[in-house]
Amino acid sequence: MATKSKVNDTYYESIVKQGYSRRDFMKFATYITAYMGLESTMVGQVAKSLETTHRLPVIWEHFQECTCCSESFIRSDHPIVSDIILDKISLDYTLTLMAASGHQAEAAKHATMEKYKGEYILCVEGSIPMGDDGNYCCIGGRSAKDILIEAAAGAKAIIAWGSCASNGCVQAASPNPTNATPIHKIIKNKPIIRVPGCPPIGEVMAGVIVHVVAFGRLPELDRLGRPKAFYAKRVHDSCYRRPYYDAGLFAQTFDDKNAKDGYCLYKLGCKGPMTYNSCGTIKWNNGVSYPIQSGHGCIGCSEENFWDNGPFYKKMAKVPGLHEEGLADDIGKVGAGILAGGLAVHAIAANISKRKELTSRIKRGRENEKNIDS
């Protein structure tokens, strides 16, 4: 896709050099095509792209994060993902996995940024603390904000890995002491793919990056900048326990018979009905399981503000703008009680204040009654 990057091997060349067979490569192309939500007829096109596209330079920045995104990525289903896609593309710069360190590492990054200006992909893991001039997160003596703005300037596109970079995640939870800010609120002039999740599913990450490198453009995004292939559906809509929900069969506690029978965890605070992700279809750890399958409700980790949206283990709506205690039903019940009391008081007060009018009307009514011809 890039003219200047012809010095790099193509993806296929890298894969073969790594010792994989053509057969392994085709398997990988098939599997990643399926994950990207493309038709099987597209396998050839994906394989062709990987054969002819030269390796894309990638800078992978780590800011306020826990590295669970990287961990998730290297545990992705197919070994080629970690061996080639991560290993090779991230050679340019990634704090966690690169061999170089210190000034060497920074020098390598700057070399990439200059050589491939306007061509490299910037992957960002973690949020940016904007409070106190960004002093809460400094790498090599520079604030995360400075590093991000510098790296974003020459990037072709930015991938915001995980909930930190996409939504702020736990650091941005109230009261957000460091003023942790997601990438899209800082960088406005670059295409940004948001891949939320804490962490995002490894296959989703692989799918996004293969889409970018294989087709040279961003995958189709929804209005929030998330790839539609992975974030178009709620976890609830693809949940294998959905029939229990529709039937009205719910687990009441984590150790009751209903929970053992695998009933819906809605009443235990499962956030699947409000969470857009592909956990129900792609699952985790090579498709072994996902939280709901393991008997724990979804906590909605790929949704904005999921830390501040009510308790994890209760199904409760929160009054927007209020803190943890602001549960709508509690406030509503108290409010309705006070209101009913107020109306009763008003009714009594009305009868006292307007007694003249009332008694006079009742008298007149009685008079009239006497005069009725029956």
Binding site: D222, R223, L224, K233, R234, D237, P243, Y244, Y245, D246, A247, G248, L249, F250, A251, Q252, N258, Y266, K267, K271, P273, M274, T275, Y276, G300, E303, E304, N305, F306, N309, G310, K315, A317, K318, V319, P320, A328, D329, I331, G332, G335, A336, L339, A340, L343, H346, A347, A349, A350, S353, K354, K356, E357, S360, R361, K363, R364, G365, E367, N368
Partner: protein
């Protein structure tokens, strides 16, 4: 002792207004009940297989059906605000007039703070809605729109029909289902509060004024004193002995 007033029947609420009112009551009632069930469903004690049950699905279906009803009667009411009589007209709800705020102050003093007038000023009695009522209905209209937007927003993803699909911008606009759902649930409580105050005030007026406030939403007629009608040439039109309607 005062003489008993002579009251005349005035046709205030036309049939579409009354239909709107009662369908709206029905829809709200069903929406609130099923809404609470959806928010916090009772666990069924059933040994039936999930395949053979669709209980919660039916509750949700009723909620969505009532939501469509709520939405469509709202459209009917908006239409009627343009073709209905002066008491149903959007002009009656327009809050930015001096007359409206004068009446607002009067109703606040007499009916909310329960003060008494030394001499009753009959011209201050509203034939249709009073200004506090119109303002509250205006607020409820805005809240209803919020409920329609958030409700259909949450529903849009499950539907393939263009009407709910028109609301598929809602969830991204608020950043996710969480906030949309919380708004939807919180505003529902405001409907409950409104209903309580609304029903109370209707009884209050009926009890203190004896003008048929309660029955007017069934039959459409309110009773207006002769003294008041003398000042109402621009509001009502006397068509016959027993027929007084809103003037054009």
């Amino acid at each position: 002792m005062d003489k008993t007033r002579n009251f005349k029947r005035v046709y205030v609420w036309e049939l579409p207004v009354r239909i709107f009112h009662w369908l709206n009551v029905l829809a709200l009632f069903v929406l609130i009940i099923t809404g609470f069930l959806i928010a916090n469903p009772p666990a069924l004690l059933s040994s039936a297989e999930a395949t053979n049950l669709h209980t919660f699905g039916i509750v949700r279906f009723i909620h969505f059906t009532a939501a469509y009803l709520f939405f469509f009667v709202m459209i009917l009411r908006i239409y009627w605000a343009f073709v209905g009589n002066r008491f149903a007209s959007w002009r009656a709800f327009w809050p930015f007039t001096k007359k409206n705020w004068n009446n607002f102050g009067h109703v606040m003093k007499i009916d909310i703070l329960l003060m008494n007038e030394k001499v009753e000023d009959v011209t201050k009695i509203s034939i249709g809605h009073n200004s506090v009522a119109t303002l509250s209905y205006l607020i409820m209209f805005v809240l209803a729109i919020i409920q329609v937007i958030t409700g259909f927003g949450l529903y849009a993803d499950m539907s393939s029909w263009w009407l709910p699909k028109m609301f598929d911008w809602v969830v991204p606009f608020f950043g996710g289902d969480f906030l949309v759902r919380n708004i939807h649930h919180t505003v529902m409580w405001l409907f409950i509060f409104f209903s309580m105050v609304h029903v109370y005030l209707v009884f209050y007026h009926d009890w203190l004024e004896g003008r048929g406030e309660v029955s007017s939403i069934f039959g459409g007629y309110k009773f207006v004193a002769d003294e008041r009608l003398k000042h109402a040439q621009d509001e009502v039109e006397i068509k016959g002995d027993n027929e007084i309607v809103a003037s054009k």
